[in-house]
Amino acid sequence: MANMAQAIRMALHYGEQNLGVTEIFGEDVGPPLGGVFTATQGLEKTWNAPLDERGIIGAALGLAWAGGRPVAEIQFVDYIFNVIDMLKLAANGHWSSGGRYKTPMVVMTPTGSGIHGSMYHSHSFDSIASKLHGMKVVCPSTPIDAYGLMIAAIKSDDPVLFLKPKALLRSKGEELIPGEPDEKTLHEMIDAPLGDRTKWKAKWPKLSDYTVEIGKAKISQAGTDATIVTHGRMAPICLDVARRFQKEGKGSLEVIDLRSLIPYDWEAIKASVKKTGRIVFINEETEITNFAEHLIRRLVDECFYELKVRPRLLAGKATPGIGLSPNLEYFIQPQTKDVERVVSELLADPA
C-alpha cells in the first residue's frame, strides 16, 4: 500500500512524464531531500528554490503564463501568509484579464495538525483558501484520492491549491493506485535511500491516468440516520467512528469526504440531507468564520425545512495558535472522542 506522500510522488512522476509538468519546485523540494515529507523524491523536474515564498509563487505564476504547468510547493501552509496577495493574483488573473490569460499552476502545501507541530506546523487554511475566488482548492484524505486529485490539478487550466494533510502523508489507504506494486517493492523502487543519494535513481511502476474530478465528493460510507461532512485529517477519523457506530448498532452514518473545497459538491450534501435530515460538519480549522459555516448557511437557505434537527459544526477552538503540549493540542483540535460525542448528540437530538 502506498502512503499519501508516495501517491503524490507517483502522480507528479506521471505528470512530468505525460502531462507536461516541467518544473516542480519549492524549498528543499529537489535533491538531496526531495521535500520535507518526501513527496518529491526521485522526480526528474524537481529543484530547490531560494527561501522565498513570494518568489516561489511569483515564479509559478510566470511559468504558467509562459505556457508551463508548474507545480510549486509552500513548505508548510503555516508559511503561506506572506504571499496571499500573489495567490489572489493567480486566482483572479483569468477574470481580470477578461479571460485572456489562463493560469495552469498547482500550489501544494502540507496543512493541518496532528504531528505535534506547535504554533507553526499545525495551521489550517481552508477558509482563506475558499476566499481566493478563481482558485480551486482540494484536500485529499487517502493516497488514491491524492493521486487522482493531483492528476486532475495538473490537468486543470485553473490554479489549484493542493492541501496535503500533514498527519496523513505517511498513512496508507485501502484502495490500490492503478499500477502500484506491493509495498516492499514500491519502497525499494521509489523511496530514496538513507545516507548518500547522489547516485540513486528512482524506478517507477507503470502508472496510469487516474483522475478524481475536482468538485466531486466521495461517499466514504453510505448511511441513513445522519450525515457527516468532512475532509482532510478528520476524514479517516470520522469514517472510523461511523464504521464503529454501524457495527455497534448505534446508528447508520453517511460520511461525505468533500475532497474538493472549491468548487464543493453541493449536490452530494443536499442529497444526503434530504435522506437523513441530520448533519454535522467536521474539520480542524478554528470555528470563527470556518468554511463549513458557509455550507451550513447555504443549507439553512436551501434545506431549512428538510432539516429534522439543527445542523452542527465540530471544528478547532479559536485560539491564536495550537499549543505544543499534547494537552493543549488535543483540547484545541477535534479528536476521535469529540467526533463520537457530537455524532451521538446528533443522532439523539429529538426531531
Partner: protein, 348 residues
Amino acid sequence: MPTKAAAKAAPASDLYKKLGATKLLKIHELMVRARLLEERLIKMSKGGDGFFWIGGPGEEAFNVPLGLQVKKGHGVNFDFLHLHYRSAAIVMAMGAEPINALRQMRSVATDPYSKGRNFVNHYAIPEHNVVPVSPTIETQYSTAIGTGIAQARAKTDAITIVNGGDAGTAEGDFHSCLVWANRPILPLPILIIVVNNGYGISTEMRTQHGEKNISDWAKVFPDMPGKTINGNDVIETWAALEEAFAYIRKNRKPYLLEAKCSRLYGHSSSSGANRIPEADCIELLEKNMITRGMAKAADFKKTWDTEAAALDAAHKQVKSEPFPAVESVWEDVFADGLPPSYPTKGGS
C-alpha cells in the same frame, strides 16, 4: 559588454545622425500618440467618461524606444513584459490601438484587456506576451522570475522585461527578483527596469531611500550590470536599451537599468492629474531635431494633428459602445466555466 559603472554615452549629436530622421520621426509619432492618449484619458476621467486615471505621460522617451526594441510575439521565444500602470507608451510602440485604452477607461464591454472590470492602463495582451498588469505594486518583479525561468530553459534569445517605479523598490518583490535573477544555478535573462520619477504618490524618494542610485543594487552581484540613465532623452534611452537588450539576449543574465523620468501629470487622478512643470521629453526631442535640421516644426504639428484626429474618431466610436452586461461577471471565474452549483445569489 558594459562595465558595471554607468558608461558615458557618446556625444549626442552623432547618435542623432546614427539613429536617423526616419526612425526618430517614427519614435516621435509614437510618443505623441501615447501622450495624446494619456491626456485624453485624463480628460475622460474628469468629464465623467470613466473614473480613476493613472498612466505614464512623461515617460515616452524611455517607453517608446523600449517598446520598439521588444522582440514581439507570443510564447517563450519572444520577450515577456511585466509592466505597470505607466506603460501605455510601451504597448503603443508595440502596436496596441489607442481605442482599446479608451474602452478600458470607459469600461465598456468591448474593453479587450479586462471586459470593463479593471482600471485603465491595466493591459493584458497574450499575443504579445504582455502579462496582466497588476494593481499591486512590485508583484510584477516576482512574476518576472517565472517567465525568466521559462526563457532560461529554452533555446532562445528572448528575454523578460519588468518595469516599475522607484518607491516600489522598497517592497520585497524587488529583492526577490534580484536574488532569483542571480541564482548561480540558473541566472535569468531579465531586464530589470526601475523608472525613477522621484516620487511614490506624495512621498519623495530621497527621504526614504539611502541608496545613491537604485541601480546600485547591482553592486551586490558581481555578474549583474547596473546603470542609471536620463529617461527623458530618446537618444540616451535608445542606446542604453540597445546595450542592455544585447547583453541579456547574449549572456542570458540579468541587467538592472534605472531611468530617471518626469511624472508630467502627477501621480494619478487622485492627485488631480494636472500638468506639472517638469522636463517634457517630447518638447526636448522636437527641439533637438529642429536645431539639427532633422525636422521642421510643421512636420511635428502635422503628427500632433493627425494623431489627435484619430483619437477623436476612436473616442466617438467608444462612446457608442455598450457597457458590460451584469451576467458577464460570471464569465472567466474559472477557465472551464462556472460549476452549476457555485453560489451566485450573493447570500440567501
